[in-house]
């Protein structure tokens, strides 16, 4: 029973890692860039939702506040692309890594100066609601997390597989020059994808906030989510979710059954093992190396 309980909590946590990882993958899929500020975008999204929704702030209804926060974060993501990322278009990948690390600090500072550094709790309609199956307790927040993650992953997968914009984004990432030539507006597309990843980050942030207090440093979760994205193979949406679930499940199990610091290290150990054995991740998308 204890195992089941751990497993369930692990899956719910893993879904959040998976969602943040989805944000990474979105941007990677479209521009082969890595947004190290994804965790901080998640944090900012959660705080904006809190700012709209909490009674002592603006006091909107929860189901109004969250879409509003998503819209705001679409703007933030789009803005980041427009103002910063577009400027370094055509520079090596590495430049974007450093740029987004710095942007992460900026976002953290912004959130810290607006909402302070003390942990705050987001008021949700399903906090504190639990279902009991025998001795296993299922929190409503966990169930919502799992459900929303599953739906969102399916939607995003369908978006890339079937819609015009999704296909255009893939084309732009595989060969930018060729995409330009056939008329794909690569720049505008990148802006849209960054906005979209802001929205996904908000969803992850809100779901994270349903489980406990948030403060401006929760963005560091992004590093773990990053490990999830790598385990799945950057650029694969189901892979990111699977990687997140794997980390989410192993972490509490390692904390329970393995000594000391292993729970902290486990995501990275899994990641290293995957990287060494399958350098492209579990769902590798690199088929051959070209000159």
């Amino acid at each position: 029973m204890e195992l089941l309980q751990l497993l369930f909590g692990g899956i719910a946590n893993g879904c959040i890692y998976g969602l943040v990882a989805l944000g990474f993958v979105l941007i990677y899929k479209a521009s082969e860039g890595v947004n190290f500020a994804q965790g901080d975008m998640m944090m900012l999204g959660a705080f904006i939702a809190l700012g709209f929704g909490n009674a002592d702030q603006m006091g909107w209804a929860f189901f109004l506040a969250v879409p509003a926060a998503m819209a705001c974060m679409f703007g933030v993501g789009w803005g980041i692309e427009r103002v910063f990322v577009r400027r370094i278009f055509g520079q090596p990948q590495f430049a974007l890594v450093i740029l987004t690390i710095a942007l992460g600090f900026v976002l953290r500072f912004v959130a810290g100066s607006i909402w302070g550094y003390t942990p705050l709790v987001l008021e949700t309609p399903f906090s504190g609601v639990n279902f009991y199956f025998g001795s296993v307790v299922l929190g409503a927040a966990d169930l919502v997390t799992i459900l929303v993650t599953a739906i969102l992953t399916l939607l995003l997968w369908a978006f890339f597989a079937y819609t015009r914009i999704g296909l255009a984004a893939q084309a732009a990432s595989q060969n930018q020059m060729a995409a330009y030539i056939v008329g794909v507006p690569v720049m505008r597309l990148n802006g849209f994808i960054w906005g979209l990843s802001g929205v996904v980050a908000t969803v992850a942030g809100v779901l994270y906030a349903t489980k406990g207090a948030i403060d401006p440093n929760i963005g560091l979760l992004g590093i773990k989510a990053f490990a999830a994205a790598v385990i799945g193979g950057m650029g694969s949406l189901p892979g990111a979710l699977l990687g997140g679930l794997l980390i989410g499940i192993v972490e509490p199990l390692a904390g329970r059954y393995a000594p000391g610091e292993f729970a902290q290290m486990s995501p990275y150990i899994i990641m290293l093992v995957v990287l060494v054995t399958r350098p492209g991740g579990l769902f590798s998308q690199i088929q051959m190396k070209k000159v």
Binding site: N175, L272, I286
Partner: protein, 365 residues
């Protein structure tokens, strides 16, 4: 404009093109050597710190600037160097033995990491090094009998042939020791870069496929660069341990890794001078911010100290500005200014325009 007339082939690979440049560096070295007589205790301590950062920066520069491998986990090698040195000295070994051993330990560990890591490239390598960093950090806590765990460890005073290099009592001696190490490493680094090994680093950075076609063993070269880089960083870590005196695992946080990355990017990727310029920037900016804060408090009545995280914010701002406006870093900017003056009326605006590259991936989905 100076015309360099080369009479032998050797002059093609000279470190300095002509005696003007050589003289400038010698003069700089002379100034650095007599610095303890020129400035006070505070500035001397800052200079020592800057030199240590420059040494660590050179370690990362070999990897990022000259071999094109990004590492986000170099704080791990700093930690290994610092802990090895301090633990060996606590066990009774003299500094002259423990210091090279610290570098060797970090270098061997780096080479060990490199064996799987060289199979990865680009962003994957950066992430793998990040993972290594986290694991090393946790290991430091786990191995508390050696490392002192959360409590920390005390780095003993260095003593060589009866001369004390105490951080507080004999700061000038410590400064000279650091200077000697830095000068030796710089000299070795500069010469390495004109040797076949160094050239193969550059070849691997610029195009792996072409390097392979030219008969370079890419895997070996990358592993060697990784080992050398972590070794030098380990030496810097050992010195940093002595400079700080008492430290625990928190000294080597992820921010140190990021700061090191700043040193090499802001300084100028691919230039040894860049590591020094970056180190100067990284050690002076916090001081400048503190001075500015005091000034704002005294003359404007604005209490900036009350805003937490402002330092990091300003730092990030500087970094973003550099990435966007001057990707070649401080040294790149200096080269541009110098060229502009050398060519004086003839420099054109487009002379330094970067060639853009378009993305083409190997992904099929």
């Amino acid at each position: 404009m100076r015309i360099v007339f080369k009479t032998t082939y050797d002059r093609d690979i000279d470190i300095h093109e002509h005696w003007g440049k050589r003289g400038a560096y010698l003069a700089l070295l002379a100034v650095m050597a007599v610095l303890p007589f020129l400035v006070g205790e505070y500035y001397l301590a800052e200079a020592t710190n800057t030199l240590i950062w420059a040494l660590a920066g050179m370690g990362l520069m070999v990897l990022v600037g000259h071999t094109g491998q990004v590492s986000l986990g170099h704080a791990a090698f700093l930690a290994i160097g610092a802990y090895t040195d301090a633990a060996l000295m606590n066990a009774g070994l003299p500094f002259l033995v423990s210091f090279p051993l610290a570098g060797l330990a970090a270098g061997l560990f780096g080479a060990l990491i490199a064996i799987p890591a060289v199979r990865m490239s680009g962003i994957y390598l950066a992430i793998a090094t990040l993972a290594v960093f986290v694991i090393v950090e946790e290991m430091v806590i786990l191995l508390s009998p050696i490392t002192g765990g959360v409590g920390g460890i005390f780095a003993p005073t260095i003593e060589v042939f009866g001369i004390s290099f105490d951080r507080y009592a004999e700061l000038a001696n410590l400064y000279w020791l650091v200077l000697v190490v830095v000068v030796l490493v710089t000299w070795g680094y500069a010469n390495l870069m004109r040797s076949p090994t160094g050239r193969s680093f550059l070849a691997v950075r610029d195009s792996e496929v072409s390097a392979r076609a030219l008969g370079i063993n890419v895997t070996r070269t990358r592993a060697l660069a990784f080992g050398l880089s972590s070794g030098v960083t380990g030496l810097a870590g050992a010195l940093m341990g002595h400079y700080i005196g008492f430290f625990n695992y928190e000294l080597f946080s992820i921010f140190i890794s990021i700061n090191l990355l700043l040193v090499v990017t802001i300084g100028g990727l691919g230039f040894i001078q860049g590591a020094f310029l970056g180190a100067i920037l990284i050690t002076t900016v916090p001081q400048a911010i503190a001075i500015f804060r005091d000034w704002a408090n005294a003359s404007l009545g604005v209490d900036l100290g009350g805003i937490p995280g402002l330092d990091t914010m300003i730092f990030s701002g500087v970094l973003i500005a550099f990435i966007i406006y001057e990707p070649t870093g401080l040294y790149g900017r200096w080269l541009k200014i110098r060229t502009w003056w050398e060519l004086f009326p003839l420099a054109r605006k487009d002379m330094f325009r970067r060639q853009k590259s378009y993305l083409k991936t190997e992904r099929m989905k």
